[in-house]
Amino acid sequence: MSEMTEIVLTIDGQEIKATAGMTVLQAAQKAGIYIPTLCHHEKLEAFGGCRLCMVEVEARGWTSYVVSCVYPVAKDIVVRTRSAKVDKIRKVLVEELMAHAPDAPELIRLAEEYGADRNRFERDASFCIVCGLCVRYCNEVKQKNAVGFIDNGARREISFIPEVAKDECWDCQECFTICPTSYAQAAYLLTEALAFPGQRKVPIKTTQAPEPTRRVIPIMPVAATT
């Protein structure tokens, strides 16, 4: 953006100034207004995968429901981050995700906030909610592409590529911390156990250096963000 065109919009009754090209989510976050997200990460391109950041937008008299992480700001739109219908949408989304990862700390917190029933849908404990954070982080930030999506539709899942993971993952493990369900870590360890047991590349040790401490992150509740 060469010129910074200023756009004024309303979010939850507040007048917010934003620049052209920003998304509604970015504008809200800049103003300190919280919108729940799962697949969003500030270092990554917007993905629009989890749909949890759905908000109500009123533009030219029409009300619609949009995904705020990919919806660009526009002049004079009125955004509501909470409404009966928005809350209902988020509740059902959380319930659907909980069929896959019933014990993910972030989902438990959201379930409390939106009154979601974790047992509403039949369990399909894949433990992955396909938010794509690990895949996109490895591609965009680390540029290693050690983990990718495979298959399609309801069968889509993440998969570590053994040929790459063997040399890259143990030294990095950064996707383990951003994964909302601990599945990235589990998927990596399973891949290692099946495809290259005992062959991972570890940091080169000198004789004086102490044994590197085990870096696998223990599974514990994630502190609530914002």
Binding site: N145, A146, F149
Partner: protein
């Protein structure tokens, strides 16, 4: 389906990440499946991460990640073919080839798959071998059809 043919296809698209699907389609057509080492070659030549090649190859049903036979035998199980006796065709094909749905024989001669709808309801029940449609099929005629494919 020699190695040179595959290498030729890969060379044609060298340095063109956007042509990933084209390259894979051509290799699939030539080789009937995508071996992992071939996908590694594609990734290296087209400068695409291997994870992305895997993503594309596993996303589309047109690609096969397991070996396929020289000839693809399809029996339509769509509603029309079903009513016109597709089940008997399936039983006969399974008896003749010894294969179940989705399997390939040890000599890589046939891969047998069912599908619905294969789009020729007016001539059902139908058997399709390598894209050639055999309409108004009867179990008795199948053996003669399959004999033509070695």
């Amino acid at each position: 389906m020699s190695e040179q043919t595959i290498d030729g296809i890969i060379e044609k698209y060298r340095g063109q990440p956007n042509s990933l699907i084209h390259a894979l389609v051509e290799i699939q057509h030539e080789n009937h499946w995508l071996p992992r080492d071939v996908m590694h070659k594609v990734a290296a030549a087209l400068q695409v991460p291997f994870a992305q090649v895997m993503q594309i190859a596993s996303f589309y049903k047109a690609f096969s990640l397991t070996p396929k036979g020289r000839h693809e035998v399809h029996v339509c199980t769509g509603m029309t073919c079903h009513l016109r006796g597709a089940a008997k065709l399936r039983a006969k094909v399974e008896e003749l080839t010894g294969l179940k749905d989705g399997e390939t024989d040890a000599d890589s001669r046939f891969t047998y798959e069912t599908g619905a709808c294969l789009g020729s309801c007016s001539i059902g029940p139908e058997l399709i071998v390598d894209g050639k449609h055999y309409g108004r099929m009867t179990p008795e005629k199948i053996e003669d059809v399959l004999k033509q494919y070695e």
